[in-house]
Amino acid sequence: MQVKPTDSSSESASESIVTDGSGSKTSSFSFETSSSNIEVTWNERLRDFYEEFIYKPGLVAWDDRRTRIGAAIMFVYVSMGVIAWLGAWLGFYPEPTTNQAERGLQPFQTLDAPLGTTQSGEDVLAMAIHATPEMLIMVTAGGIFATGVAVLTGTLAGYKGGSVDRAVTSFSDVAMSIPGLPLIMVLAVVFRPRNPILIGILLTINYWAGLGRSIRSQVLTLREEPYVEASRTMGVSTRRILTKDIIPNLMPFVLVNFANAARYVVFASVGLYYLGILPSSVENWGLQLENAYTQAGALVGTGALYQLLVPMVSIMGIALSLILLAQGLDRVFNPRVRTRLAGESESVRSEETEESSKTEMMP
């Protein structure tokens, strides 16, 4: 292993240099460096990170059929997002506009508009595709905001306790008690947000509160764990305990809830666009649904039903993908399963071998 001088900003410094004012240097003892004065390289750190946070979880995740299906569906949406993004820049799959094709075409009649057109001649597939990037941004922004604020408030309240806990808990109680939909409707009407990131945040404006309370209770149990106690005894800073000891152990819970929050953003945004509360100039599947219902009369007769089905399938697909991913991630963070699938537990492996050999031996 290559040995590298420590930079002053490194948190795992093997020793710290102190000047006494006379210019002479003295070395002070550091608990962390007593066992080793060898520093790991960035490459090794990255490799460790990859191993711990990407490879192993990925292996476990990929072993679960639900995650595979969920990821495959999400890949389709990401591809749609890329097509729409490229389309906007390169004219690859153009944005929907009125009169881009013949009016009222049924699906599968022409390759120019494979899923048909509206009564204004807009390509229905283009409408679905070009709604995707904004939806993905909105979903990510909403999910990050909701889980981020929840983690921040939940860990702070749970770990610090006392007056900090009381203050943060009271704040989240207030946020939780405000009815979500009317609040969002009022804010949407006042601010008329058009930026998908803002819309995502707006939709989860008080969604974090319930999640924050759940995280707080998780933290209350984690803070009594021996390794956290040990860190406290050694005088490790609160910030470091939270970021290194507490939050990583919350990640399973957080990631599963991230997927749920994202699903909530999908449904909430579609609902608000459908109701005409969010501004109508942004492409969205909810707007497409609303247009199909109000302008094409998709529920009167069957002639325009396809205009309703395309956005419905889009919404169902992304919601299903998020549900499957959430369930798959739940498995990733189950330590027993994870260790077994990552091939680190001899006992489990031997149990499996025994079981399989028994099966093989059966007549």
Partner: protein
Amino acid sequence: MVEKATSHRDILNRRQFVGLVGVSGAAALAGCTFGNNGGDGGGGENGRHTSYTNIIPKNMQWNPSNPSKLAEISGQVLFDAFAKYNFATSEFKPYAISDWEYGGNTFKMTIRDGLTWANGDDVTSADVATQLRIGLHTGETYADYTDSIETPDDKTVVMKFNSTINKKIVQFQILSGRFVRQKKSVFGEYLEKIKKNKKEGIRELQEFAWQEPIASGPFEFDSAGQQQLLLTLRDDHPDSKKINFGEYVFVYKDGNEAVQQALQNQTIDSAFSLFMPTRIVEELPDSVKQIQLPGNWGYGLVPNHSHRHAGDRAVRQAIQYVINRKQVMNNVSADSKQVPEIPIGIASSNQKQWLGDAMSSFETYGVDSSQTKKAAAVLKEAGYSKQGGTWTDKDGTAVKLPILVPSDWTDWNTATQTIVDQLTSFGFEATVDGRSFGNLQGNIWPNGDYAISAGGWLDGAPQGAYPYFSLHHQLVKNFRGFTYNYPAADQSRGGSRNDVTVPSRTGSGTMTVNPSKRLNEMATNTEEAKIKEIVVEQAWVTNQDLPMIPVLEKLEQTFLTAGDKWDIPKPDADVAQVRWANTWLPRMGEMKYTGN
């Protein structure tokens, strides 16, 4: 409240009732339900016409001076029209006012014999005069020229004017769209209050919600619940004998689509006005018939003349050049819309009649094409330039044109989206901005808080058929209170009735006119040549200055059920060419119940 009339039927319908109490019971029920005229003898559910309303019946009120929750269509069944304008004959058919006499500066009206209120009182000249006198204080247009309203006897009302008034204007303003509905015994006290303290009296009048109206029409108020309004046939109306069904019901339907579905499923028998695209009309049952009428109004754009770009005539002309009106019409519904041949303040079907040979000198701005070259030329001449595909003004500011539209007005949204696409491909930064109608009408339009808004560019039927009203609507005072800040407009619309300067119609130089003064001259003139001269001149002003941007004109769609349930005339029959056939035909004996 649950509707009384329906609730008992939910438990016990008429046939069950007959079975239980026998013939005498049935006779009692028929007598009770239909009054002395007896209906069809079928009674109950069989003798009922069901239509729709878009206001929750329990919240409705029938005071026409109070715009809040004012019942529109049921009011046309409960109250009698002064006269009915027929679009096929272009004439007024006498009704509650059986006769009228125009005398230049007087207008004498005679009330129909035998007309009574639902409480048994006669309809008298005092009732009609009370209503007209209230109008003098609440901004009715005839207030501008009416000196007095007199009642020489119980059946005669005479309006005296301060000068000679154009006969057509008097007829349209007094007779059209006016109903016998403000009974003196109910509204007289408000008139007295207004006389004592105008501001306070009008406030009280406009806050008065008349929720149990006294009818003057053939049906009277019975009950109003969350879902339906029940009206029952009177036995003392002059036309009751022509009506063979006992109940007229309005069920609450929220939105166009709900009504379309109800017609398709035949849960309602009629719809007075509805936007229905061709595809859905074609899918309706054969028994549902469509009657089309000129709307004399329709979708247009109302620019805010104080806006940096929409207020610039060059930008307005460029917009009008870029809009392909026929494409917009085809996207919305070619069957229920038409496009004006030239964009002016005169309804499409009247343009040739009024402009004659002068029509060729007017700018069409392209009926079925986007005339982008002409639009670009106009903009360049005014100092605009195109940078990076976007038009910018002299200061380098991009021309941003957000277009407000009521978010739940289906056809208007389609039209707006099409126009936005046309403007965007030309190089304007146009966007659709959908808001609730209530928000637009309550705050945004009156406050002038917009760049461009979708709005009606004509005055509406039937008076929209006469150029005075449509020109007045564009140049001086529009309805729905758009504060569009046009200099020639009324103060209440953000203007100051100023002069307007536009290019001369003769081809060189400019002409300066005062639209408000000229239209006033038209209103007080009886000389046809003079009237025509003013119409052509003011139409030219609207064509050049574009105070509003005309796009589409509506064909009203009324739906009636025929088949084995109702006997109705052919949709194009003269008698059906009125607003609205489902409330007028029963009075004429032309909508008979034939069901079992």
